[in-house]
Amino acid sequence: MAQHRVIVVGGGLAGLSASVRIAEAGLPVDLFSMVPVKRSHSVCAQGGINACNEVARQQGYSEYMHFDETVYGGDFLADQPPIYEMCHWAPRIIDLLDRMGVPFNRTLEGMRDLRLFGGSLFKRTHFAGASTGQQLLYALDEQTRRYESEGKVTKYEFWEFLWPIIEDGRAVGIVAQDMRTMQIRAFRADAVVMATGGNGLIFGKSTNSVICTGGAASRCYQAGVDYGNGEFIQVHPTSIPGADKLRLMSESARGEGGRVWVPRKKGETRAAKDIPEAERWYFLEEKYPKYGNLVPRDIATREIFQVCMDGYGVAGQNQVYLDLTHKDEAYLNNKLGAILEIYEKFVGDDPRKVPMRIFPGVHYTMGGLYTTFTPKDDGKGLVLGNPVQMMTNVRGLYAFGEVNFAYHGGNRLGANALLSCIFDGLFCGLSVANYVQDCEPGKAPAAAMAPAPFDAAVASEKAKHDRFLSTVGQGSGDKSFNAYQIGRELGEEMTAACTVVKSAQRLEQCISKLAELRGRFAKVRLSDGAIWTNQSLSYTRAVGDMLILAEVIAKGSLLRKESRGSHFRSDFPERDDANFMKTTRATYNPGSGDHTIAFQDINSSLVKPRQRSYGKVENKPAEKKEPVGV
C-alpha cells in the first residue's frame, strides 16, 4: 500500500514543532528548509515566551487575562477562539520545552524565573538568558535530530520551496530546488505545512534574517492561497540602525528597566551623561504613566517616530536614547548579557555606560496566509484534532507560525510569537495527522497518483528558471534591470509608504512605484549564469515574488480607511469597528496579475471591543518641566 507522507516547509519553531508532532503521530515527515534548520530565523528571538504561570496566577493573573491582553494588544482584529486556545495551552508548552531541556532562567529555588514584557502588568514571560528563541529552536532541533536518526523525519536542507502542487483543489506535494546542485524536482505528500516565517526583506533593511523574503508565502498566494491582513506590519520601536540590517534591541531592555528619553532641548549638543535629569524628556513615562516604557510596540514606535519628526531626535537624527546606565552592571550582564554584547559588537559603545541610540525598524509580519479554524461550540477555544485548524483555503495546505495571519491581529505582543509558532506546530500538527488519515488522502494517497500533475509543475518551474538564466549577458547592463537595484528601491519605497504613518496620497504613489518596478522586473537581467549554486538566481526569483506581496500590503493599506494596531492612517486616525473590524482577505488573479481584496467578518464572540489606549494622558514637554527662556 502506498504510504502517506507529510511535507513541512520551514524549519523554524513552527516547522520543527510541527515535524516533531506529526512524526510522533506516526506519519513520515519530509522537512524542507533553505538553511540548516538550526540556523532558521527563530534563532534571533531574544526576549522570551509568554504563558500564565503559578506565580502570576496567585497574583491574580490567568490564561483568560493573557487571552484578553492578546486580543486587546492586537486591537480586536484577530479571530478570538484561536487566541483563547493558544493562551490556555501556553503553560503546557512551557512545561514541554522545559522537559526538552531548555535552560530557562531559574530562581534561587530552582523554579523558572519570569520577566515583565510589554502589554501586561504581570510577569508572565519565560526566558533563557537573552537568546530565548535560540534556546527554544535548539531544543526542537535536537528533538527533530532524534527523530531524524530514527528515520521518522527526512531533512532537505538547502532546498528552496518553489511551488505547491494542487490537484483537484487539494495539496499533493511541492516543487523544490536544491540550492547547491540547482536540481528542480517534485515531492509528493498528502498534506503540506508552510512554516516559512515573515517577509521583512520586502522593506529592505529590517530586523529579520536574510532569507525572510516572504517568497514562499507569495508563491502560495499566486497558486491560490488567500492572504490575510497584509497591511499589518510590526515596526519594532527599538532597533539599532546598521549598514546591512537593523539589529534588534529587545523589548526586554525596557522590561528590565530601560528608559526611553530625548533631551528636552532640541538640537542638544551635550553628551547624554552631561544632561541633568530635569532636562531629559522621558516621553513614554510621561504620556503613559501606567505602562510607562512598556507600552505595546505600535504605540512606542509611533511615539518615538513622532518625537523625532518633531525635531527632538538625538543629535538631530532619527534616534532616541534607550538608557540602562542607571542599572547595576552585574544585574545587566546576568539578565541581558547577550543583547548588550550585540550592541557593543556592532556599534562599538558599551550600553552599560553610555545610553544606546535606537530607532524603529520593521520587525514582524502580522498578516500572512489566510487560515481557517473550527471553534468549540461556546467559542472558547478550538476543537482539538479537527482537520481544518490553520488549514488555508486550499485543502491539505496548512500555514503555521509567522507565515499565517492568525492570533496577533493588528499588532503582536512581545513574546507571543514564539508561543504562536510552537502552538501551531503542536496543536494543529495533530489536525494535519488527522486530515491525512481520516479525510480524502486516506483514500487516495498522493504516492499512488498518476505522475501528470507533478511533471507539469516541475516543467513550469523549470521554464521560469530557464527564462531567468537566458537573460545572462543580455541587454545593455543598465542598472535599473538589476534585481538588487529593484530590491533596494522596493525596500526604500515600502519603508517610506507602508510602515509607521500611511496616507492615501503616499500609498497611491507607492502603488504606482510598485507597478513601475514590476514592469522593470519583467525585463530583469541576471549577472550569473551558473548552473551550480546560483544565489543570485534565487534572490532574483524572490524579488519578483516580493513585488507581488508588496502590492497586497500597499493595496490593503489603502483600502483600510481607519487606524488600528500597527496600521496608522494620518488621514483616518480613528479606529472604525463598524466597517473595518474585519479581516482583509486578498485573492490573486493569475490571469491579470491583479488582486481582489475583500473585508470579511471576524469571530469576536468572546471579548467586546473597547478603546485601546493603555491609559494615555496628554502632555507636551513644554507644559511640564522645560526651563523657560533657555
Partner: protein, 282 residues
C-alpha cells in the same frame, strides 16, 4: 595587517587601534578566494568596495553581489557565501577573514582595513568541502551531534508536567554550553580535525570539540543523563575525546566563548571513570 597567530588580547588591541584610525569614505580591496564548485580549481579575485560607516564583511559582500566587477574592471560572477541572522547568533557565516576563522557578519571593516586601499582577504573554511566560493558543506558537524545523542529523550509531547528543577548555577553552565551555534570555528582551528569528504568515514574520525561539549551539556541535564553511558561510549570509541591533543586552539576562536577545554577535560575524566566501571562490570 593582523597576523594569524597573535593572541586574542593583542588581536583585540590591534583591532581597536584600527577602529580609531579608520578613515571615512575610503575604498578597500577585498581579495577573495573563489572556486566554482567541488573539484574545480581555486583562484583569487580582487574587488574594490566603498566602505560606509559601520560596514562589515557581509554588507560588503552584498555590495559585490550587486556589482560583480573585479578591481581591474572585468565583469565576473557574484561571490557566493552563506549567512543568515547578521547578528552572530545563527552560525552560518563562518569564513577566514584576514586568514583567521570567525563570523563574517560581525567582522567590522574598520577593524581590518582602516586606510584607503587596505586589503582584506576572505577564504572559505578548509576543514569542510567547498560548495562554491566561500560557502562550505558543514553537514558533518551536525552529523557528529547524532553520534553523541545530543538531545533529551522525552516521552513525547504529551502534557506530563514540568521538567526537572535546577539551580541557577547549573542553569548558567548549561545555558553557556547550549549557546553553541554550530558555526565550526573550533573545528577549523583544531589540528586534530581534518577535511573528510567521505561520509562513511565520519563516524570514526575525530568528533570535534563542539560535540564533546554537547555531550557534557546533555549529561548534565536531569533527564538527559539517562543516555550518559551511551554518550560516553561514543566518546571512547574511534575519533573520540582521547584524540584531542589538547592544543586549545578551539577555545580561542569560539565566538560564543564556550568553555571547550573545560568540557573536554570533564568528558575526558568521565570517560576514564566510565571505562573503569565497564571494566569491572565485565
Amino acid at each position: 595587517m593582523i597576523s594569524t597567530f597573535t593572541t586574542s588580547e593583542s588581536l583585540a588591541a590591534a583591532r581597536a587601534a584600527n577602529r580609531r584610525a579608520a578613515v571615512a569614505g575610503r575604498t578597500v580591496i577585498f581579495r577573495i578566494k573563489r572556486c566554482d564548485g567541488p573539484g574545480k580549481p581555486s583562484r583569487w579575485e580582487d574587488f574594490k568596495v566603498p566602505v560606509p560607516v559601520g560596514a562589515n564583511v557581509i554588507s560588503c559582500l552584498q555590495y559585490i553581489a550587486a556589482n560583480p566587477v573585479t578591481a581591474d574592471g572585468k565583469p565576473t560572477t557574484p561571490v557566493v557565501w552563506d549567512s543568515g541572522c547578521l547578528e552572530e547568533v545563527c552560525g552560518a557565516c563562518t569564513m577566514l577573514v584576514g586568514g583567521r576563522v570567525r563570523q563574517s557578519c560581525s567582522a567590522l571593516i574598520d577593524d581590518y582595513a582602516p586606510a584607503e586601499g587596505d586589503v582584506i582577504t576572505l577564504e572559505p573554511m578548509s576543514k569542510f568541502p567547498v560548495i562554491r566560493d566561500l560557502w562550505v558543506d558543514r553537514e558533518r558537524l551536525f552529523h557528529n551531534l547524532k553520534r553523541v545523542k545530543a538531545w533529551v529523550p522525552i516521552d513525547g509531547t504529551y502534557h506530563l508536567g514540568a521538567g526537572p528543577t535546577e539551580s541557577p548555577d547549573q542553569q548558567g553552565t548549561r545555558y553557556k554550553l547550549s549557546e553553541c551555534m554550530s558555526c565550526g570555528c573550533c573545528l577549523e582551528a583544531c589540528p586534530q580535525f581534518n577535511l573528510e569528504e567521505k561520509p562513511d568515514m565520519w563516524d570514526t574520525s575525530f568528533i570535534g570539540p563542539h560535540a564533546i561539549s554537547q555531550a557534557r551539556l546533555f549529561n548534565m541535564h536531569g533527564t538527559g543523563k539517562v543516555l550518559a553511558d551511551e554518550r560516553l561510549d561514543a566518546l571512547m570509541g574511534m575519533g573520540g575525546v582521547s584524540e584531542c591533543g589538547n592544543a586549545q586552539n578551539c577555545v580561542k576562536v569560539c565566538p560564543k566563548h564556550i568553555p571547550l577545554t573545560e568540557s573536554i577535560a570533564a568528558m575526558g575524566r568521565a570517560t576514564t571513570i566510565h571505562g573503569f566501571k565497564r571494566f569491572f562490570r565485565g
